[in-house]
């Protein structure tokens, strides 16, 4: 039982990062109805930028802010690279193009920063906290990860539900024609969606880097988990992405704890397959919205 609780607690901060990556996938899905497989590549690239900033200034907050800014810019660039040229054909072409972008980003990062894994120094201790006579599987850094994730999720929720920009973005996602007829510049909203997704993924990357290492391919596995979480959540639901992102983190932690880390991706894919068999619309999906 102690093991179980430890494994579960150990999964939260990992789950938070998966939730952020899933959120990024969902924001792109909501704006252009496609999955951006380059999302983790973008996060990897911006995390390298953050690493460079941290190594030269020693300021973690600055590194995080620069990564977010770079994420906004990179999200916008990828939108113009991928969506604009293939806009009038079907989205299949654009989805394949996102794989191209992923490979290009990985190759580019390899050329700039080299292929060897590098460490990212956490801003606070990554050692398990000692409390009530034992060491718990939660560190000060895990708490920071959860706090940053919670702040970002709350910020995004307020943006989407309380602001005119958020309303315009939601309307553009639900019904672009009605949005345009209402005067919304839908294209700008789609770009904003991609940019915000880029920034969200960037935060996820910076948060996960200290507990793994960073190399051009180190986030690939994150894509499997985030994609699983996003799809189970319904692909267009922000709540779904967060809920199942954290859920996936907990499941991975249990699987890793009781068996072996190499089983985690398999379990994730089994969950994904089960979801597609039993509830293909996703758990939190607005009914029928996937037919678009």
């Amino acid at each position: 039982m102690t093991n179980f609780i430890d494994f579960l607690l150990g999964g939260f901060s990992n789950g938070a990062v998966i939730a952020l990556m899933a959120l990024a996938l969902v924001m792109v899905w909501r704006s252009t109805r496609m999955v951006n497989f380059a999302q983790v590549g973008q996060a990897m690239f911006t995390t390298y930028i953050a690493l460079t900033v941290q190594q030269s200034t020693g300021n973690w907050l600055l590194a995080l802010a620069v990564a977010m800014g770079a994420g906004l810019v990179l999200g916008t660039i990828v939108y113009f690279l991928v969506i604009r040229p293939v806009k009038n054909s079907d989205t299949t072409g654009a989805i394949i193009a996102t794989f191209g972008v992923l490979i290009a980003l990985q190759a580019g990062a390899g050329m700039i920063w080299g292929g060897d894994p590098e460490g990212f120094v956490p801003p606070v201790s990554n050692a398990g906290l000692e409390f009530a006579g034992r060491i718990w599987p939660i560190s000060l850094y895990d708490i920071l990860v959860l706090a940053v994730t919670a702040a970002l999720v709350i910020g995004l929720t307020l943006l989407f539900t309380k602001t005119s920009l958020g309303l315009s973005m939601r309307a553009s996602a639900f019904n672009p024609e009605v949005a345009r007829l209402s005067g919304v510049r839908v294209n700008r909203m789609l770009i904003t969606g991609w940019a915000l997704a880029g920034a969200t993924g960037a935060v996820g990357g910076v948060l996960i880097a200290p507990v793994s290492t960073i190399s051009p391919n180190s986030f690939d596995i994150l894509l499997v988990f985030a994609f699983t979480a996003a799809v189970i959540g319904g692909l267009d639901s922000l709540i779904g992405a967060v809920t199942f992102g954290i859920g996936t983190g907990l499941v991975i932690s249990l699987v890793t704890g009781y068996t072996d880390a190499s089983n985690a991706p398999v379990v994730a894919l089994v969950l994904l397959a089960l979801n597609l068999l039993l509830k293909p619309d996703g758990v939190f999906s607005h009914h029928g919205s996937r037919s678009v």
Binding site: F174, V178, S182
Partner: protein
């Protein structure tokens, strides 16, 4: 005033509109009638910028609007309520309304919102409910309300009566006619239900297979028995 001159639109090889000319004056309702496939919706969608004309042009207060984007045309004061209760079911009633005219000042939008709630009290009662909980007639009111939120000078209404009970149709159309009269709004109304449309309209246009068969005072069209039999089917 909205001025349409020799407008032609085609979808591939299909000629949907051919040399359609029409003036839509302020302060009254102009009805566009005709059978299915006559090109009525194409006309409306082209005016709103959703379809690109092949030839001809549309001017509004002297400015050419044909070929512009829908989001620019609505900002100039021409609002379309497309066919089929164009509301966003996932959003609340108030969010559906607030979506209209987001570029306008806070004061203008608040004034429009108050006006819409006065015109359609049922929307005020249901403001925090999701749009998909509304009845068909209420959703049509919401669609018109969203268009009014953009502060239009021209209102394009594409078959507001579709699937609604006759009593509700009469209510909505009479309200539209009153609005045109009271606030100098120019209304272009597409209807399959020619009787009701011609009753509230001052002038009318009959389309058949994309071409204008007749245009003139609504009363004249309504009393033209030959026209009625040939194109309007009653």
């Amino acid at each position: 005033m909205l001025h349409i001159e020799k407008l032609s639109v085609s979808y591939g090889a299909v000629q949907a509109l051919k040399d359609v000319s029409l003036d839509v004056p302020h302060g009254s309702v102009t009805a566009v009638i005709g059978a299915n496939g006559a090109g009525k919706s194409t006309l409306m969608r082209t005016l709103a910028g959703l379809e690109k004309p092949q030839s001809g042009q549309v001017t509004f207060n002297g400015e050419v609007i044909s070929g512009r984007k829908p989001e620019d045309i609505v900002r100039m004061g021409i609002a379309l309520v497309p066919e089929g209760r164009s509301t966003i079911p996932e959003l609340t009633v108030e969010d559906n309304l607030k979506l209209g005219g987001m570029w306008r000042s806070h004061a203008q939008r608040n004034a429009s919102l108050t006006r819409v709630y006065t015109l359609f009290p049922v929307l005020s009662e249901r403001r925090s409910m999701r749009a998909d909980t509304l009845s068909g007639g209420e959703r049509q009111q919401l669609a018109i309300g969203r268009a009014l939120m953009t502060g239009p000078q021209v209102l394009l209404l594409d078959e507001p009566s579709l699937g609604l009970a006759p009593l509700i149709v009469t209510q909505i159309l009479e309200l539209v006619a009153r609005m045109a009269w009271d606030s100098g709004l120019a209304v272009l109304l597409v209807e399959q239900n020619a009787t009701v449309a011609l009753r509230i309209a001052r002038s009318g246009l009959v389309l058949n297979l994309g071409e204008v068969v007749k245009s003139g005072p609504a009363a004249e069209i309504a009393s033209d028995e030959e026209l009625r039999h040939a194109y309007l089917g009653y």
